[in-house]
Point group: C2
Chain length 135, copies 2
């Protein structure tokens, strides 16, 4: 059902500083800078292997800002790649798990839905369907 | 310098319960069960895409138990795949970053070293050299 890590989100306080550090220390030089107004975040993502790493700076009230305030910077979310978001979500609820909220648009037209953390041992797990990948 | 996500560690309190949930909800059925006595953990890992997901249950005092006690279950560590651990570590320190501790043996003979969280915006980032991958 899952076919890889679609992306990982890392919360940062200062996106420019974070990019500079990833550039300097890990040699990352191909950031795509973006924003998601619905989530109140600025983002910078880069590709590594068959996954995206997304650095996320909250810019206003919302779930990312709340988590940053409560837990500080660091790993925020693990998003698994699925080929069909609806059927994957349905599989989880039929297996006794729960989804949190409705499917929403992520960066670059990704369709994503969050799994309720209590379903998978406290982890922030998400499912992502990537139209580009399915083309 | 980094060429993909080598593995992600997720802390869980009960490894058997966690495997059962990943099986049932995400369709994962090929766990490799292992342990690392030096870290005082039991682990269950599975492959997804070109990465490993490692579920980690602390079994005694150590860094994983400390983090579980302080932060609870969930995402613990992001390990990037590098082809040469020594030169990657040296690159980070020459770029003004810091490593934490010495290189150590991970699961299955992986060689790993932790980057100091303050170097990369609070995240638990690790580098891993995988002898099998380099063969």
């Amino acid at each position: 059902m899952i076919r890889g890590i679609h992306h990982i989100n890392l919360l940062v306080r200062d996106l420019d500083d974070a990019m500079e550090r990833y550039r300097r220390m890990l040699g990352v030089d191909d950031f795509i800078i973006d924003s998601l107004e619905g989530r109140a975040v600025r983002t910078a993502r880069f590709r590594t292997g068959d996954s995206w790493i997304v650095l996320v700076q909250p810019t206003g009230p919302g779930e990312p800002q709340r988590v940053l305030d409560e837990q500080g910077e660091g790993l925020f979310l693990l998003s698994f790649d699925v080929d069909d978001l609806d059927s994957a979500g349905e599989h989880i609820t039929q297996a006794g798990g729960a989804l949190r909220g409705e499917p929403r648009r992520g960066l670059e037209g990704w369709s994503v839905i969050d799994v309720a953390p209590e379903s998978l041992c406290g982890a922030q797990i998400q499912l992502a369907e990537d139209a580009q990948k399915n083309d």
